[in-house]
Symmetry: C2
Subunit: 344 residues, 2 copies
């Protein structure tokens, strides 16, 4: 994998997933190719051939960049993971992940059902050596105009301190690959910053981190308000708390957006102001929109399986492609294994 | 307590707590008395007599409404609860709570150190009959222009399903007393709305609720984004998750406020717009400001101990006084006991 900077990178894409398929996927590829002329990336597109062809034509994407695999079976967004596992074989999502398993693709991207994607990814790719439980990592914008990587976002409801330690390792490697920051700082999500705070699991995970190769990067405990403050680069937590925190952020963002909208439509004067400031508002919206920080990933599997936001548009799908390439080029899984071996 | 509508209600106030003491406390009383002419409320003010007298004079508060207790010992905002318990005797916070214990006051309010307030309240007031663990309840504004009551906000890190059930009882009684809504709906915070989601504790708490006198009010599982959406009236969770969620809301609110501020100061035109819209902005800010929903409470103690926001101003302190009176008049503790007895 050393020469991955030069060889052709292959990414399999589920073109029947998410709210805006296949336009988001194909427009994302188009935007990516526009930004990266003479790219060494090839896309395996799993979806309905005739429809895909019309989009590929519309966006003028050259044949050298893709290969079409005709599939019309898709996993619905409301499908339960257990049902998806049982009946999902042959679906676009399944085949896209299987391409990674078969080493035909270096990574896969899907904007489909998160639970199903997680279940199928685990079944097909299996857990990485020395990792007990894979985790879902997510990037979130911060006040500091940077991003924080948070994990686990819901793959593991009950976690041990060993799980949290492994999440810290995986999150660090992920953050370094995507953001390019060496030795990212790590915080453990807790209800206070003092040593005595929290439950036994976080306390013993903190002890473990303080005595590990990550000790110099370990910031200590962080609280809910530290996530968007950007206090640390990587926030580690169990899947229950992580999922609640992420959805609470989304809910609070919506609450603000709704109130702002009301403010700017409640009088003619306010409407006028909003109109004058359209451009400023757009940049504001871009900055606070979590969809512009697209690309969650299931870390800890024998292969790269990226989850794009379900309602991603072309721009955010392009962002997911760029992140996926960073993960491939940075040999993320090899680095995770190396770090855990050193520790043993 | 049946005639509590007519008799004098006595509220003890810690006048050495919070960021803005004693001005927030005294201004809060002034605003309350302005709104409630011929009030039957008397305040026991624990603080530095000479300073309090000058504020009471400034706000022209009549002597019939207060009694001064000269205290200069205060518990610092950064004091650890264990230290506060050991050394806090004789402090304004301690004495204000002790007045409730001695039945000299019907309730106490403090804007001081939350951890210390919780520890001292528990020590002096003790746990209510049939309650295993007291909880910290907090009201939060929602999209629906209503409020949601959330508990526990950090008093109990590890919770059993019995604890969660009791939180549901206490939260319902609290919400009904403050908001005046009969049979408030109850949601259990989880990582998904389906029955199979979550850990054993929430699953068995859900089972318990479905088979209790609260069954008709039990909505089921809710997620992080449901909190501010106002999906239910009462959100029940353990203290770890509740604390993380509350602080995540605060952090997200700050993130938005900071970005909005940047938006309205980045150009002369934008600054001008902000100036023109000052009034609209103020009402927007009021609506989204959690400080305007002031008054958390330790539920499940033999007495009413209200926690005001540390940086409350006069207006929000007045709000805490109004809520405290509702809790007294509604005999909140008697109702909690009744509901738990019915259940046994």
């Amino acid at each position: 994998m050393i020469d991955s900077q030069k060889r052709i990178l292959t990414i399999s894409i589920d073109c029947l997933g998410g709210d805006n398929y296949p336009s988001a996927q194909i427009e994302g590829i188009k935007l990516f190719l526009d930004k990266n002329k003479n790219s060494n990336v090839k896309f395996l597109l799993f979806g309905e051939k005739s429809i895909l062809e019309s989009y590929l034509g519309k966006f003028k994407i050259h044949k050298q960049y893709y290969e079409l695999i005709d599939v019309d079976k898709r996993i619905k967004s409301e499908e339960k993971p257990s049902i998806a596992l049982r009946n999902g074989k042959g679906s676009s999502m399944w085949l896209a992940i299987d391409a990674v398993k078969q080493k035909v693709a270096d990574a896969s991207i899907s904007a489909g059902n998160t639970g199903a994607l997680m279940a199928i990814s685990m079944l097909l790719l299996r857990t990485l050596q020395d990792i007990d439980r894979p985790a879902l990592a997510q990037m979130i914008p911060t006040e500091k105009n940077s991003s924080v990587t948070m994990l686990d976002m819901g793959a593991n409801i009950d976690c041990s301190s060993d799980n949290l330690y492994q999440f810290a390792v995986m999150g660090s490697v992920f953050h370094e690959a995507i953001v390019g920051k060496k030795n990212p700082s790590i915080g453990l999500l807790n209800v206070g910053s003092e040593d005595m705070k929290g439950n036994d699991v976080v306390k013993s995970a903190a002890f473990r981190l303080k005595n590990s190769i990550l000790k110099d990067n370990f910031y200590g405990f962080v609280e809910g308000n530290d996530i968007l403050k950007g206090t640390v680069d990587v926030v580690v937590t169990d899947g229950f708390t992580g999922n609640v925190a992420l959805k609470t952020i989304e809910g609070t963002a919506k609450f603000f957006a709704k109130n702002l909208k009301e403010l700017f439509t409640k009088s003619l004067l306010n409407k006028l102001m909003a109109l004058i400031m359209t451009k400023s508002f757009r940049s504001f919206k871009d900055k606070i929109n979590p969809e512009n920080y697209n690309g969650a990933m299931f870390l800890g599997l024998n292969g790269i399986s990226v989850k794009s936001h379900g309602n991603a548009n072309g721009r955010s799908f392009c962002f997911a492609i760029e992140n996926t390439i960073k993960l491939i080029k940075n040999n993320i899984n090899e680095k995770i294994i190396d770090m855990l071996i050193v520790e043993e």
